[in-house]
Structures are given as C-alpha cells and as structure tokens.
C-alpha cells in the first residue's frame, strides 16, 4: 500500500491526474487492496497466536481457580462420600513442573481440559481412581494454552515425585519411566498395566500424557509413575515431605 499510488490520494493533489493513466490506477488500487488484505490476515494470525498462548491461559487459570476453590470448599464442608467425583477427584502436585496444584477432573474432552485442569481418561481406556486397590490413574492436560498445566513435563526426571491429593489421602508416586515421543494412536500407554513402561503385573500406577513438541500436537509425551506410599491427610492438610 504505497500512498502515492492510491487513486484517491491523487484527487487531493493540486493537479488532477490525466485520464490516460486511469487503467494503471485501477491496477494500483487492486494491488493496494490485496496488500491490505494480506496485512489484515497477518494481523489476525498474530492475534490468534496471542489468543492461543496467552489469553486461553488467562481464562483457563481463572476458571481452574474457581473450580479448585469449589472443590476445597466442598472438602472443608463435609459431604457424603470420601471421593467426590462430581467437582473433581483431587489435585495433582508435581514439584518438578513448578506449576502448583492442578485440579483433576473426569474426562479428557476439550470441554474439560480447556478449563485449565487435568482430566482422567474415560476413553479409550478407562482410568483407575487413586483409591483403587490396583490400576493405572491416567491423566491428560494441555501443554500450551488453556492453562498449559503440563507445559514443563519435559523437566520431569526418573525418581521425581508425583503427588495426588484427594480429600483424605496424599498418594505419593515416583516417576520410573518416560516416553519422550509416541504416536497419538499409541493408546497402550494408558493401559491399566502399562507394558510399554516395562511393567508386567498389575500395580498402582499413574500416567501423565500431553502433546509434544511444544506448540504442536504431532506426538504424545508420556510419564509413568508408581505408587510409593500413601499418607492420610491431617487436619491442617500438611503436605507430604515431597512437597515441602
């Protein structure tokens, strides 16, 4: 969009353009409109990046905090049942990810995960719940945008603690295997006995999944942990040593 080629700018000039140059002005006009459209598309795409990587985090964190408060409130106010699956089953604490607590809710649909929470799988392989005598608690959360709760999953190393806090128990897991890249079709990683991590017998496992590399959804990143111990929640909700 060069101003001097704009036909309407010429009209403001002291001498009107000679009529012989009119066709060229039409072309110049078309080129300038096309250029402006390109600039507009560029700006919209730029805004979309800002939306994806920043704004969805703002809204998701707000929503996650609201829902977390609801769950905490519900826990403080004794209700029926030890494990309340309606508002969320608990909170995930992974010190290595430096992201505080992540609310864990049922389901891994976009509607659930976009609120900035981690979801446990109901499909294609059903997750176990932390209180089950054996099974694999399989979770998914966003790597970027929408709270980006598993953004730092690549900082986790073998031996790191994964702590799942429910209403009355702290479940302390230890990372024993990491799969840095796998296909999204590899649903075996969330099996109740995750053979790909080397386990052959049923036990109490946890599996975190998200997408990788960052800012894409090309592959999946998987972290497996095994239950090390459990700890009853005391009246002050004193966190286990792993979180101090």
């Amino acid at each position: 969009m060069v101003a001097t080629t704009d036909p309407d700018d010429r009209t403001e000039a002291s001498s009107p353009p000679p009529p012989v140059r009119r066709p060229r002005h039409r072309i110049a006009f078309a080129v300038s409109v096309f250029g402006e459209l390109l600039i507009t598309v560029g700006l919209v795409l730029g805004l979309f990046v800002a939306y994806s990587l920043w704004w969805t985090n703002v809204t998701a964190d707000r929503e996650a905090n609201r829902q977390s408060d609801q769950v905490r409130h519900h826990w403080a106010d004794p209700g029926p049942g030890a494990l309340d699956t309606k508002d969320g089953i608990g909170f995930l604490h992974v010190p290595a990810m430096h992201n505080g607590e992540v609310l864990v809710k049922k389901g891994t649909s976009a509607a659930v995960l976009n609120d900035g929470v981690a979801g446990y799988y109901t499909h294609p392989v059903k997750s176990a719940l932390p209180g089950d005598p054996e099974g694999n608690v399989t979770l998914a959360a966003h790597r970027d945008g929408h709270g980006a709760k598993f953004h730092n999953i690549d900082r986790m190393r073998k031996g790191d603690a994964i702590v799942l806090e429910t209403k009355d128990t702290w479940y302390v897991y230890k990372v024993y295997d990491i799969l840095k890249e796998t296909s999204k079709y590899n649903v075996q990683v969330i099996d109740q006995v995750p053979k790909e991590s080397g386990k052959k017998k049923p036990g109490r496992y946890i599996t975190l999944t998200t997408c990788t590399p960052v800012y894409t959804s090309l592959y999946r990143y998987v972290v497996w942990g095994e239950l090390e111990r459990t700890q009853k929640v005391d009246s002050d909700r004193t966190p286990p040593v792993e979180l101090r």
């Binding site: 402006e36 919209v44 939306y51 799988y121 499909h123 294609p124």
Partner: protein, 63 residues
C-alpha cells in the same frame, strides 16, 4: 480498503482516530470472544490425549 473506511468516518482527524480505535477494539473483541474459540478446535494444535482416532477431542469415535 482502510483508506476508504478512514474517508467515510465522520468528524475531524481526532474523532476519526478515536472511532478507528474503538472499531479495532470491537474487532479484537469479536475475534477473541467468538471467532478464535470457534476456530481453535478445528486446528490441530491443542490435541493432548492419546485416543487413536480423531485429531481433536470431541469426536472420539469408536475405533
């Protein structure tokens, strides 16, 4: 295009600038509130689960 809009805005330069600013804000609002939330699930950037089927959650059909 933008030149056309500018010339059709009423008032002097300051009023035009103010109206333009409000228009830009309105466009950004519509994009963030309606267009992007609609477009995002259609794009393959935010798919985090293993599901062996559709590239986005929501249409996890049986395999």
């Amino acid at each position: 295009m933008y030149g056309w809009i500018w010339r059709h805005l009423p008032g002097n330069t300051w009023v035009k600038a103010l109206i333009s600013f409000v228009l830009v804000l309105a466009v950004v609002y519509v994009l963030f509130q309606y267009v992007f939330p609609w477009a995002e699930p259609l794009l393959p950037f935010n798919d985090v689960t293993v599901n062996g089927s559709a590239p986005w959650p929501g249409s996890v059909a049986a395999r």
